[in-house]
């Protein structure tokens, strides 16, 4: 029953060969099998959002998908945002606006925001507040996260970040 299944996972444009039992979540496979520990795991039942990644253009909870379900999909994680050691505009805006303190929630917020702008470029300010309520942050009080997003909203709408995160 818990026999391992072999498949390949495409993460930030790179193929990883995985062998894991079906019950392994995408979040755990990213961390343990792909060694991409930027995706964090908090509650493991969909509530906190620390594990949020982008799968086929949708921001989703990586703890509520099994890794086998992501075979054949394009997965994007926080590691795919910076290019050649240059932070993406949203990452830079987080720093400039003091939008993180301990940083545990940050990868989840970055992927949530990137995924949402990719799918719904016309997202308005009210919807943005609702969007940011999807993930939990224990440190910042959210205000500075909202400031960071608003600062780069135009760039995000132009999909520049995700375009660079995508394999060419």
């Amino acid at each position: 029953m818990s026999e391992k299944i072999e498949f390949s996972l495409k993460v930030n444009g790179t193929d990883f060969s995985i062998a894991c039992p079906p019950r392994k979540t995408l979040a755990d496979a990213l961390r343990e099998d792909c060694r991409l520990t930027g995706t964090h795991v908090g509650c493991e039942h969909g509530v906190c959002g620390a594990c949020t990644v982008v799968v086929d253009g949708r921001a989703v909870r990586a703890c509520l998908m099994f890794a086998v379900q992501a075979q054949g999909s394009e997965v994007r994680t926080v590691e795919g945002l910076a290019q050649n050691d240059v932070l993406s505009p949203l990452q830079q805006a987080f720093i400039d606006n003091h939008a993180l303190q301990c940083g545990f929630c940050t990868p989840g917020f970055l992927m949530l925001i990137n995924g949402a702008f990719e799918r719904d470029p016309d997202i308005c300010e009210d919807e943005l507040t609702e969007l940011l309520s999807s993930n939990l942050c224990r440190c910042t009080g959210y205000r500075n996260i909202a400031r960071a997003v608003l600062q780069v909203a135009d760039k995000l709408k132009a999909r520049s970040e995700l375009a660079v995160g995508k394999p060419s």
């Binding site: 029953m1 818990s2 299944i5 039992p21 079906p22 019950r23 979540t25 755990d28 493991e44 039942h45 969909g46 959002g49 949020t52 949708r58 921001a59 989703v60 909870r61 703890c63 509520l64 998908m65 099994f66 086998v68 379900q69 054949g72 949530l112 995924g115 949402a116 799918r119 719904d120 609702e130 969007l131 309520s133 999807s134 993930n135």
Partner: protein, 295 residues
């Protein structure tokens, strides 16, 4: 906080899924759709599956189809697909777009499915309320064939439906709404994105200023959502007014048999049922005339 071991099967068609389910459902095989209820329940070890039959690789079941009378929602239509009101013609599209934004949070809505909500049958499911309010029909497939169940006959208790373990929901059918419909939705919860403690959907038409064919439905209050005929009777033929809405709301709250939990006594939910009905009815009077919007 990790799911117990299970086998994984990825069918290429609904027929193949139904065949597999007919063989393995007795041993505890289950359908996996959006996974936004089942996966957390497996992680919390309150649900166990011997095998998950994952519908997500099946082609051609992710788009709403339209007919003259209504829409059909197949198993891979996600909550977020309703964010745009274009998904259904006329007022129905606006109803679904408004209600969809009350379900959980954005990333959950990217995967959770309409059919999965009907199967899961949480008393506080927004889609279950809409199915009850609009007299949806649920279409089931198994190796023995297809059958359709009316929403009023669908639920059997909290998270229980008349679906047999070997049956798959292959579509939920919703009727179109007339262009002159007045409708309102109101949901109360303690934090945005939480499950509703109580919610109401109400709609009616006006004939020479009088209410005709009113629907009043409550969710999150009882074991499952349903229309409240006593409240509808108060509205039928009346002129919309704060007094009439107040009376319909009080009548609804007397007619329900509310759920109770440690944080929420039944009396609280009874009270809440009047509030949400009154607010939904009040918001129905502000429905913008929709013909221009129907795309």
């Amino acid at each position: 906080m990790k799911a117990a071991p299970f086998d994984y099967f990825r069918p290429a068609s609904l027929q193949e899924a139904a065949e597999r389910l007919s063989v393995n459902s007795d041993d505890g095989a289950m359908i996996l759709a959006g996974g936004q209820s089942l996966v957390p329940m497996m992680a919390l070890r309150v649900a166990y599956a011997s095998e998950l039959i994952d519908l997500n690789a099946i082609k051609g079941i992710d788009t709403v189809s339209r007919s003259e009378r209504g829409i059909a929602i197949p198993p891979l239509v996600r909550h977020a697909d309703f964010h745009s009101s274009d998904v259904a013609p006329g007022p129905l599209g606006h109803v679904l777009a408004t209600v969809s934004r009350h379900i959980a949070h954005y990333p959950i809505r990217q995967r959770g499915t309409f059919c999965g909500s009907l199967a899961h049958a949480d008393p506080s499911s927004e889609w279950c309320l809409i199915a009850a309010a609009l007299d949806a029909e649920i279409e089931l497939l198994s190796v023995s064939g297809r059958r359709r169940i009316k929403a009023k006959d669908w639920w059997a208790g909290v998270m229980e439906t008349v679906r047999e373990p070997e049956e798959i929901i292959v579509a939920v059918h919703l009727p179109l709404l007339p262009d002159d419909i007045q409708w309102g939705f109101y949901e109360f919860n303690r934090r945005a994105g939480d499950f509703a403690l109580g919610m109401a959907f109400c709609c009616y038409r006006l004939t020479e200023g009088l209410i005709t064919k009113p629907h009043v439905a409550l969710g999150g209050i009882e074991e499952y959502p349903r229309r409240i005929p006593e409240a509808e009777a108060v509205l039928e033929g009346a002129t919309p007014s704060a007094e009439v809405f107040g009376e319909a709301a009080r009548t609804a709250s007397k007619a329900v048999n509310p759920l109770e939990d440690p944080a929420t006594p039944a009396a609280y939910r009874r009270d809440l049922s009047a509030t949400v009905v009154r607010r939904a009815l009040t918001s129905a009077t502000q429905t913008k005339s929709s013909p221009a919007l129907s795309a």
